[in-house]
C-alpha cells in the first residue's frame, strides 16, 4: 500500500477499497503448462484460484506451484495469445494443463452484428483488432486506433489534440460522408466517437463486406466498426487496475522559411521586376527601413505540449452477475502558443450484467465531459477567410515583431505602407481570442433477454434493448477589442455562446432461433425490428460591445441577438439473418434488411438490402487432405447490397426562408422567398459488394494469413452535385447522382513465436485501392475540387491543372510560344498548349496525377524478453500526389508574405538553370495556377513510425513482496519520425472527398515522449 501513495491523491482514495485476501489452510498444487499445438512448455502463464486473489505464474520451464485455499477450488490458467481455461482441482495435487493458442482459427470468438460467431464459422470479411495492441497508441479519438492495424482501412488525421480523423474503409465509397457506422456494444452511435474512452475498449471489429455488414444494411455502406467495451467476469472478487502515462509533445518538423534579409531581398526583387516602388519597410533608403527585427514565427508560435492519462478500472462479479466500472482522465495540451488547441476529457463507464434461469439483462452507462480549445481561425473578425492558423504562422513575415503594447490587444500588426503584407500574428492572436467547446454526453443502454425455448436441440431467445445517446455541446467564442495592423481589428468585443443538443434513441427487438438438426446441420435464424429517432436542437446567443474589465457572459454585451433551429430524423428497419453450418465444412449466411428513412420522400422511403455469403473449411474435408504444412484453410465468398442515407434532414422538401432582412427608410423589414433548390425525388444510395477471401494457418500454426479481394459499386450516390449558379441557388441540392467502383486486394500476415525466452509477434498488412467513377449524374458534368477534377472514367479527385514545359529564357521564346499573358516575361513558366489553339487558358488544363493513395500498409512488432517487452508500429501509404497549400503559400500566392527557402533558387537572369519561376509582384503570368510545376504536386508516399515502446514488468517475486498483481512500466515514443518526400507537415492529413490530395494546412503531428505505468491490485 505504501508504494501506492506516490499516485495522485484521488487514486489513493480508490486504493483504500482494495480487498486483502489472505491464505488460510492452503493446499499445494503443482504442475506443468504446455502449448497444445507443439507440446512445448509455456513460461509466464498466469494461474489464479477462481474467486480469490491467490495466484502465481509458471517458471521458465512451464512449471508452477500454488497454494490453493481448498482442493475443491477451480484454477484459471491464462496467458496472452492463448485460450483461458478453467480446471477444477477436484482433489488433485498435480495438474498438468495444455493451452491452445487463441488465434487458432475456430477458437476465436468474433463480435458480429447482433451476436457473436466463432471465427471458423465466418463467411464475411471481418477484421479484428485486439484492445491491447491498439492501446500502444495514445490518442484522444478511439477511431485513430484503427490506423495501420488492418488492411483496407485508411485513417487520416491532423496533429492537434481533439482532431477528428477521416476513416475510410475500402476507399471512398461515396461522395458525401465516408465515415463508417460505429456500433458500441451493439448500439449504433449517431455522431463522433471522439467522446468515448479508448481505455474501455477490449476489441474492435471492422465489418468490411456486404455480408458482414448487411445486418446494419441501411447505414453500413461505408463499413461498420463494432466496438466492444470491457465487461466484468463472473466469480471474480473485485479487481482494481490502474494505467496511466505522461508525455511531452514537440513539433519536430520545421518549414524552412527565409529570414529578414532574404525575405526583403525577395519582396524587393518582385516589386522591381514589376516596375513598382519598394515597400518602405524593405527599402534600405527609406527612414522606415526595418533592419532590427527578424522574427522566427515557428519558434515563437510553437511550444512543447503535454499529454496525460489516468485510468482506473474496477471489475469483478458474482455467480450470476458481473460489473465493470472505469474512471478515466485525459489531458492533452497542444503545441501552439495561446488558447489551444487543447483537449481534456473526464469519463466514466459502468457495465453490468445479471442472469437467472431463462432471464438475463445487461446495462451500460457512459458519461463523459470534454473540454476542447479548438484552433480558432474562422472568426469573422479575422477578415478575409483565413487559412488554417498554421499556414498563417509559417507565412508570417520576419520583419514584424510579436507585441505592441501601444495598441488595443497588444499584438503587433502590419502596416500598409511599411509592410503591405496581410499577416496574422498567430501567437499573439491565439492568446487574444478564446474558443472553447464543452461536450457533456450520456450514453446509456440496457437490454433484457429471455430464453423462450431452451432444450438440447434448440433455443429461442427474445431480446429487447433500448438506448439513448444525448450530447450537449456548448460552444463559446470570445473576441475582445483589438487592433492588429491595418487589416485586422475588432471595434466591439463580442461573445458567441451557443448550445447544441444531439440525441438518438433506439428501441430494438430481436428473436433468435438456434437449432441443431441431425446429421450436423446447425441453423440459426434471427429476425428483428429497430426504430430509431434522432435529432438536434441548436441555439446560439450573441452579444457585442462589452465594457471593460471584461466579464464574458452574454448579459454584459450592449446588443444581443439569438438564433436557433432544430431537426429530427427517424429510421425504421426490419431484418432477418440465416446462418447455416453443415459439419463445420460448409457455411452459409443470408441476410435481408428493409429500411425506411425519414430523409426520403414517401414514395422512395424504403430500401431492401439483401446479401449472402458462403464458406468452405477445406481442412475439415475428409475426401482430400491438404499438404501437411497447412493447418487450416478456408475459402469464402460474399455478395450483397448495403444502403446509405447520410445526408442532412428534409433535403427533399423545398422551404422558404422568411428571414431575409432589408430596410425602408431605415426600418428593418423581412422578405421571404425560396433561396435553395431541392430535388424532390431522392432515394437510398446503394452499394453492391463482392468479396472473396481465404484464411489460412500454416507451419505449425505459426503463420496466419488472410487474403481478400473485393469489388464494390456504389450507385445512386447521394451527393450535392454542383449546379450552375445561374439557378440563383448557391448551395447545390442533394441528388442521387453518380456511381463509383472500388476494388482492392487486402493481405494480412502474421507470425507468432511463442516459445523460448524471446517471444514475439510480427504482423503486417497491405492493401491496394483502385477507384473509378462510373457516373456523375445529370449530364455527367465533371466535379471540380481544389485543383482537382472528378470525371467519369477516372478516379475521384485527380489533380487537374496545367502542364509546365519549363521556364521562358528569352522574349523570343515567349513570342514563339502560345500566348499566355501580356505581362509574360523571361523567367515565367511556360505552360503547355494542350489543345494547340495558340492560347494558354483553362482549356489547356489536364490531369496531373492521383490524389488517392494507391496502397496503404501497416507493420507491427511486439516482442517479449523475460521481463521486457518491445513494440514497434509503423504505417504508411503511397502512390499519390499532394497539393500543399502551405508550400504554395510560401512559394507564391501573396507577394508580401514570407517565403520557403526554395524560393532562393528562383529564376533570375543570373540563375537560369532552375525550375522555380522569377519573382514578380502581381504574377502577371499566373505562375501560381494549378500545374505540375516543381513543388506544386509532391510525392505523397510516406512511412510513419507511429510507436516505439519498451516496457518492463516487475518479476513475480517483487510483485508478491509489494502486494500487487501485474505491474508494467514503459517508455514510449509516438510519431518518432516519418520518412516522407512531402514538404508540408503531415502526409496523412484530412481532406475533402473531391480533393483527397489537397492539404489545406493540416496541423503538424507532434512527436511524443511518454512514460507510463500499468498496475493491478
Amino acid at each position: 500500500m505504501k508504494k501506492a501513495t506516490f499516485y495522485a491523491t484521488c487514486l489513493t482514495m480508490f486504493s483504500l477499497v482494495l480487498l486483502w485476501q489472505g491464505n488460510v489452510l492452503a493446499q499445494q498444487v503443482t504442475g506443468v503448462v504446455t502449448d497444445e499445438s507443439n507440446d512445448e512448455t509455456l513460461p509466464g502463464v498466469n494461474i489464479i484460484v477462481k474467486g480469490t486473489m491467490t495466484g502465481t505464474t509458471t517458471d521458465v520451464n512451464g512449471q508452477y506451484e500454488l497454494n490453493a485455499p481448498s482442493l475443491n477450488d477451480t484454477l484459471i490458467f491464462s496467458y496472452i495469445g492463448f485460450q483461458t481455461v478453467e480446471v477444477p482441482i477436484d482433489g488433485r495435487q498435480e495438474i498438468d494443463v495444455q493451452l491452445s493458442p487463441v488465434s487458432l482459427m475456430g477458437e476465436d470468438i468474433v463480435v458480429v452484428g447482433y451476436g457473436t460467431q466463432q471465427r471458423r464459422e465466418l463467411t464475411g470479411s471481418i477484421s479484428s483488432i485486439d484492445g491491447d495492441d491498439m492501446k500502444s497508441y495514445s490518442t484522444s479519438d478511439p477511431a485513430d486506433l484503427i490506423q495501420g492495424r488492418v488492411p483496407g482501412v485508411q485513417v487520416n488525421s491532423d496533429g492537434q489534440p481533439g482532431a477528428a480523423p477521416n476513416i475510410r474503409i475500402r476507399g471512398v465509397g461515396t461522395f458525401g460522408n465516408n465515415s463508417p457506422l460505429f456500433v458500441i456494444d451493439g448500439v449504433p452511435v449517431g455522431t463522433s466517437i471522439r467522446d468515448f474512452n479508448p481505455n474501455d475498449i477490449t476489441s474492435i471489429e471492422i465489418l468490411k463486406d456486404a455480408s458482414a455488414a448487411a445486418i446494419y444494411g441501411s447505414r453500413a455502406a461505408n463499413g461498420v466498426v463494432l466496438i466492444t467495451t470491457q465487461q466484468g467476469t463472473t466469480d471474480t472478487p473485485l479487481q482494481v487496475e490502474y494505467s496511466g502515462y505522461f508525455g511531452i509533445d514537440e513539433v519536430w518538423q520545421r518549414m524552412p522559411v527565409t529570414g529578414r534579409e532574404d525575405y526583403q531581398m525577395l519582396v524587393n526583387e518582385g516589386l522591381r521586376n514589376a516596375g513598382m516602388p519598394l515597400v518602405a519597410g524593405n527599402d534600405p533608403n527609406s527612414p522606415l527601413y526595418i533592419d532590427d527585427i527578424n522574427t522566427d514565427w515557428q519558434e515563437e508560435g510553437l511550444k512543447t505540449g503535454q499529454r496525460m492519462n489516468h485510468n482506473l478500472t474496477f471489475y469483478g462479479g458474482g455467480e450470476n452477475t458481473t460489473y465493470n466500472l472505469s474512471l478515466d482522465y485525459l489531458d492533452s495540451e497542444g503545441t501552439l502558443v495561446g488558447h489551444g488547441p487543447d483537449y481534456e476529457r473526464y469519463s466514466t463507464r459502468l457495465n453490468t450484467t445479471a442472469e437467472k434461469g431463462i432471464f438475463k439483462f445487461g446495462q451500460s452507462f457512459y458519461y463523459t465531459y470534454t473540454n476542447e480549445k479548438a484552433l480558432n481561425y474562422n472568426t469573422s473578425e479575422l477578415t478575409g477567410g483565413r487559412p488554417p492558423m498554421i499556414v498563417d504562422l509559417v507565412s508570417a513575415i520576419p520583419t514584424l515583431g510579436l507585441y505592441d503594447p501601444s495598441v488595443e490587444g497588444g499584438c503587433a500588426g502590419t502596416d500598409q505602407t511599411i509592410h503591405r503584407a496581410i499577416v496574422l500574428n498567430v501567437p499573439c492572436t491565439n492568446q487574444l481570442l478564446e474558443g472553447e467547446t464543452n461536450v457533456s454526453r450520456t450514453f446509456a443502454s440496457a437490454y433484457g433477454e429471455v430464453d423462450i425455448i431452451d432444450d438440447n436441440q434448440q433455443t429461442l431467445t427474445y431480446k429487447i434493448s433500448g438506448s439513448y445517446d444525448r450530447t450537449n455541446v456548448r460552444n463559446v467564442n470570445w473576441v475582445p477589442e483589438f487592433v492588429q495592423g491595418f487589416f485586422f481589428s475588432n471595434a466591439a468585443a463580442d461573445l458567441n455562446d451557443g448550445e447544441n443538443t444531439y440525441y438518438t434513441g433506439v428501441v430494438e427487438n430481436t428473436l433468435t432461433y438456434d437449432r441443431e438438426f441431425e446429421g450436423n446441420h446447425d441453423v440459426t435464424l434471427l429476425v428483428g425490428h429497430t426504430y430509431q429517432r434522432g435529432g438536434g436542437i441548436f441555439r446560439n446567443g450573441y452579444a457585442e460591445g462589452f465594457p471593460k474589465p471584461y466579464f464574458k457572459v452574454l448579459d454584459n454585451g450592449n446588443t444581443k441577438t439569438s438564433s436557433g433551429s432544430e431537426n429530427a430524423n427517424a429510421l425504421e428497419s426490419y431484418f432477418t439473418r440465416l446462418n447455416y453450418n453443415y459439419d463445420d465444412r460448409y457455411l452459409l449466411t443470408a441476410t435481408l434488411r428493409r429500411d425506411g428513412s425519414s430523409r426520403f420522400p414517401e414514395d422512395n422511403r424504403y430500401g431492401n438490402f439483401p446479401s449472402a455469403s458462403v464458406g468452405w473449411n477445406l481442412h475439415n474435408e475428409d475426401f482430400f487432405s491438404l499438404p501437411s504444412f497447412i493447418n487450416q484453410l478456408k475459402v469464402r465468398a460474399s455478395y450483397g447490397q448495403l444502403g446509405n442515407q447520410s445526408i442532412g434532414e428534409y433535403q427533399y422538401i423545398g422551404t422558404i426562408n422568411t428571414s431575409i432582412p432589408y430596410n425602408w427608410n431605415g426600418s428593418k423589414v423581412f422578405g421571404a422567398t425560396q433561396t435553395q433548390v431541392v430535388n424532390t425525388e431522392i432515394q437510398w444510395e446503394t452499394k453492391t459488394t463482392a468479396n472473396i477471401g481465404i484464411d489460412a494457418r500454416f507451419l505449425k500454426n505459426m503463420f496466419d494469413l488472410t487474403a481478400e479481394y473485393y469489388s464494390s459499386t456504389t450507385s445512386d450516390i447521394l451527393v450535392a452535385v454542383p449546379i450552375p449558379n445561374t439557378t440563383g441557388a448557391f448551395d447545390p441540392p442533394t441528388v442521387n447522382a453518380g456511381e463509383l467502383r472500388n476494388s482492392g486486394l487486402e493481405l494480412a500476415l502474421s507470425y507468432n513465436k511463442m516459445q523460448g525466452d524471446f517471444t514475439f509477434d510480427i504482423s503486417a498488412n497491405f492493401s491496394t485501392l483502385k477507384n473509378e467513377v462510373l457516373a456523375l449524374g445529370g449530364n455527367d458534368e465533371p466535379i471540380y475540387g481544389v485543383g482537382t477534377k472528378t470525371e467519369v472514367g477516372g478516379e475521384i479527385g485527380r489533380h487537374f491543372g496545367h502542364k509546365v514545359e519549363g521556364i521562358f529564357q528569352s522574349q523570343e521564346e515567349i513570342d514563339n510560344h502560345a500566348f499566355q499573358n501580356n505581362g509574360t516575361a523571361p523567367g515565367d513558366l511556360k505552360f503547355k498548349d494542350v489543345n494547340e489553339d495558340g492560347v494558354i487558358n483553362a482549356d489547356d488544363r489536364t490531369y496531373l496525377g492521383s490524389g488517392l493513395p494507391k496502397y496503404t500498409y501497416g507493420l507491427n512488432f511486439t516482442g517479449q524478453y523475460k521481463q521486457f517487452d518491445f513494440t514497434v508500429f509503423a504505417s504508411g501509404m503511397g502512390g499519390h500526389k499532394i497539393n500543399s497549400r502551405i508550400y504554395r503559400y510560401l512559394m507564391l500566392t501573396s507577394d508580401y508574405l514570407n517565403y520557403h527557402e526554395d524560393m532562393l533558387d528562383r529564376w533570375t537572369p543570373e540563375n537560369r538553370d532552375t525550375n522555380i519561376p522569377r519573382r514578380v509582384v502581381n504574377d502577371p503570368n499566373n505562375n501560381g495556377r494549378d500545374s505540375d510545376r516543381e513543388g506544386w504536386l509532391q510525392n505523397g508516399t510516406f512511412l510513419r513510425i507511429n510507436t516505439v515502446a519498451v516496457g518492463y514488468s516487475l518479476p513475480q517475486s517483487v510483485r508478491e513482496m509489494v502486494g500487487v498483481k501485474n505491474t508494467r512500466v514503459y517508455f514510449q515514443v509516438q510519431n518518432l519520425y516519418s520518412f516522407q518526400h512531402y514538404k508540408g507537415y503531415n502526409p496523412d492529413f484530412t481532406a475533402g472527398t473531391f480533393e483527397p490530395g489537397y492539404d489545406n494546412g493540416s496541423y503538424p503531428k507532434p512527436r511524443s515522449f511518454m512514460v507510463g505505468l500499468e498496475i493491478g491490485f
Binding site: 505602407t417 503591405r420 496581410i422 423462450i452 487589416f487 471595434a491 427487438n509 425490428h529 426504430y531 450573441y542 446588443t559 441577438t561 438564433s563 433551429s565 432544430e566 431537426n567 429530427a568 430524423n569 425504421e572 426490419y574 428513412s597 414517401e602 422538401i653 422551404t655 422558404i656 426562408n657 422568411t658 428571414s659 432582412p661 432589408y662 430596410n663 425602408w664 427608410n665 426600418s667 428593418k668 422578405g671 421571404a672 422567398t673 425560396q674 433561396t675 435553395q676 430535388n679 454542383p722 450552375p724 449558379n725 445561374t726 439557378t727 440563383g728 448557391f730 448551395d731 449530364n779 458534368e781 471540380y784 499573358n821 501580356n822 492560347v839 487558358n841 501573396s894 502581381n922 502577371p924
Partner: protein
C-alpha cells in the same frame, strides 16, 4: 411455453408499425404553403431587394470591381483579386468575380419566383402591379449589370426544373432585348412615388419607381446606341415630362452621404443601413440569409485610407478636376466631395496625413461626416442612378442626334452645380466629336468612383482605338496589361466547368 412464445411473437410484430417516418421541417414554411397570401407577395419582393446588399452586388464588388478598372482609380491592395481586376488580368477562378455573377443570379431567381407566382395570387390589383413592376425592374437591373460586366450571359426567366439548369449563353441582342423588355414592363406598372399609394408599401421610400424604370430603360437604350429611343425615355424625366420630379442637389456630397439618402437627385438607390441603424450580428456578405444579417456596405472601409485603402485615386483624374476653376476661382465643387488631397485637406479623419503623397477617394466614405469610419460598416446608400446622369446621358443622345446646342444646355446644367463657368455658347458650336470629348470629360468628373467610368469607356469604343488605349495607359498604368477583351470580367471558371452550354467571354482568354 407455447403461449409465451405466441405472446412474444405478437408483441414483436406490433413493435414495428408506426407512421413515424413522416417528419416535416419545423424551422421554415415549405414551398407548398407559401406564395398564397398578399403578405407572401410583398415579402417575396422585399427578398429581391435584399439581394442587392450582398458582397457580389452593391455591398462591395459591383462598385469595387467596376471602379478598379476605371482610369480614375488604381489598386493599392494586397488582395490579388482587386489588383488583378484593376490591371485587367484577373483569372476566371477569381472568387470576387464569381460573387458578382452569383449575386446577380440570386436577384434574378428571386425576381423570377415573384413573376411566376404572384400573377396567379389573390393580391389587391394595384399592389400586384406595383409588386410585379418592381420584380421586373430588379431583374432588368441585374441583367443590365451582368451584360455590361460579363458581355454575354445566359437568360433565366423563370424558376427552373433540374433538367433546365444548364442554360446556354444568350446572344448580345437577346440579352439586351430582355433588359429593355424588363424595364418597359416595370415602367408600365410602377408609381411615380410610394407616398400616394394605398397598401402595405405606402410611404416606403427606396422601392423602385417609374422614374427609376424609365431612367434605366433610357440608359439601357443608350448603351445600345439607340439614341432617339433613349432620348424619348430621358425626356419623360426632365422639363415637364410625366415623371419629371427630379432635381440636382445643391451640395454634391449629399449624393454620397448617409444624411441625404433618397434625395431629389436620386432615381434609385440601394438601401444600406449601418449596424447602429438596422442592427444585425452576421455580416451580409452572402450565403443563406438569416434574421440576424446586417445591412452594411463595406465600400467606405474598402476605399478609405482609414480602412483597407484598397484603391487610390489616379493623378490623372485629380488633374482633370483642376483644368477648370469655378467662377469664384476655386476648385470644382465636386473635387473635395470626390477626392481627399493634402492640398486642401489639412487632416484626414481628424488626424495628420500619414503618407502625404497619396490621393484618396472621399466619395462614399464617411470622412468629414459625423459618423466614424467603422470596419466595413457603412450605412451610406449606394446611388444606382442619379438625375445628373440622366441629364448628361440626354445631352449625349442629343449630340449623337446632331443637336449640339441642346446637348450644351444639359451639360451646363450639371456644370452649374459644380460652380463651373457658363460655356453653353462655346459648346453649342462644338462638332459632334468635340462634344463627345467634352462629354467624356464632364462624365469623368461627375461620375468618378461611381461604378460607371469603365462602362463609358467600353461603350464609347475606346478599346478599339489604339490612340485611346495609349491615352488610357498614360492616365493609369494598369491599362498596360490590358489585352483585347480583358475590359470585361471573365465568366467564372466554376460556371464554365459545370455548365457545358455556357460560352466563355472575351475576358476568359
Amino acid at each position: 411455453m407455447k403461449k409465451l412464445t405466441l405472446l412474444f411473437l405478437t408483441l414483436f410484430l406490433f413493435a414495428g408499425c408506426s407512421d413515424e417516418l413522416n417528419l416535416t421541417n419545423p424551422n421554415e414554411p415549405t414551398t407548398d404553403t407559401f406564395w398564397q397570401t398578399q403578405e407572401d407577395a410583398v415579402k417575396g419582393v422585399t427578398a429581391i431587394y435584399a439581394a442587392l446588399l450582398n458582397d457580389g452586388t452593391y455591398m462591395r464588388m459591383i462598385p469595387a470591381l467596376t471602379d478598379g478598372r476605371g482610369d480614375d482609380f488604381k489598386a493599392d491592395t494586397p488582395w490579388p483579386d482587386l489588383w488583378q481586376v484593376a490591371a485587367f488580368n484577373i483569372p476566371a477562378t477569381s472568387g470576387p468575380v464569381a460573387w458578382v455573377w452569383d449575386g446577380h443570379y440570386i436577384i434574378i431567381y428571386r425576381a423570377n419566383q415573384v413573376l411566376q407566382y404572384v400573377p396567379e395570387m389573390d393580391v389587391e390589383p394595384e399592389l400586384k402591379e406595383r409588386l410585379l413592376g418592381q420584380a421586373y425592374f430588379l431583374r432588368g437591373l441585374a441583367y443590365f449589370n451582368l451584360a455590361i460586366n460579363f458581355y454575354e450571359v445566359p437568360l433565366v426567366l423563370e424558376p427552373q426544373e433540374p433538367s433546365e439548369y444548364n442554360v446556354p449563353t444568350a446572344s448580345e441582342e437577346d440579352l439586351w432585348a430582355q433588359i429593355h423588355s424588363d424595364f418597359q414592363e416595370a415602367q408600365s406598372r410602377l408609381p411615380v412615388s410610394y407616398n400616394d399609394v394605398t397598401g402595405p408599401d405606402q410611404g416606403q421610400i427606396g422601392r423602385a419607381t417609374v422614374g427609376a424604370a424609365t431612367g434605366m430603360l433610357g440608359k439601357s437604350y443608350l448603351y445600345r446606341e439607340r439614341w432617339s429611343e433613349a432620348a424619348t425615355e430621358f425626356e419623360k424625366l426632365i422639363d415637364g415630362g410625366p415623371y419629371a420630379v427630379y432635381e440636382l442637389m445643391e451640395d454634391f456630397r449629399h449624393n454620397f452621404d448617409v444624411d441625404h439618402e433618397n434625395n431629389a437627385e436620386s432615381l434609385f438607390e440601394v438601401q444600406f443601413g449601418s449596424i447602429e441603424q438596422v442592427g444585425g450580428s452576421v455580416a451580409n456578405y452572402g450565403g443563406e440569409p438569416n434574421g440576424n444579417w446586417q445591412q452594411r456596405s463595406s465600400i467606405a472601409f474598402t476605399y478609405s485610407p482609414e480602412g483597407y485603402e484598397d484603391f487610390l485615386v489616379t493623378d490623372w483624374i485629380y488633374q482633370a478636376f483642376q483644368q477648370e476653376m469655378t467662377v469664384e476661382g476655386e476648385f470644382d465643387r465636386r473635387l473635395q466631395p470626390t477626392i481627399m488631397s493634402r492640398e486642401y485637406d489639412e487632416t484626414v479623419y481628424g488626424h495628420e496625413w500619414n503618407y502625404p503623397g497619396d490621393i484618396y477617394p472621399r466619395k462614399y466614405t464617411n470622412e468629414g461626416l459625423p459618423q466614424p469610419e467603422l470596419r466595413e460598416d457603412s450605412g451610406i446608400n449606394y446611388r444606382v442612378l442619379r438625375f445628373s446622369d440622366i441629364l448628361l446621358m440626354y445631352a449625349e443622345t442629343q449630340n449623337e442626334l446632331g443637336n449640339q446646342a441642346v446637348a450644351a444646355q444639359y451639360i451646363q446644367r450639371v456644370r452649374d452645380r459644380a460652380g463651373l463657368p457658363d460655356r453653353v455658347a462655346e459648346f453649342s458650336a462644338f462638332s459632334q466629336q468635340e462634344m463627345r470629348d467634352q462629354l467624356a470629360h464632364e462624365r469623368a468628373l461627375e461620375f468618378a468612383i461611381e461604378a460607371i467610368r469603365i462602362h463609358d469607356i467600353i461603350r464609347w469604343g475606346w478599346f478599339d482605338d489604339p490612340a485611346k488605349v495609349e491615352e488610357l495607359r498614360q492616365r493609369d498604368s494598369e491599362f498596360d496589361s490590358w489585352a483585347p477583351g480583358k475590359q470585361y470580367l471573365p465568366i467564372p471558371q466554376d460556371e464554365l466547368d459545370v455548365n457545358p452550354n455556357l460560352e466563355p467571354n472575351p475576358a476568359n482568354n
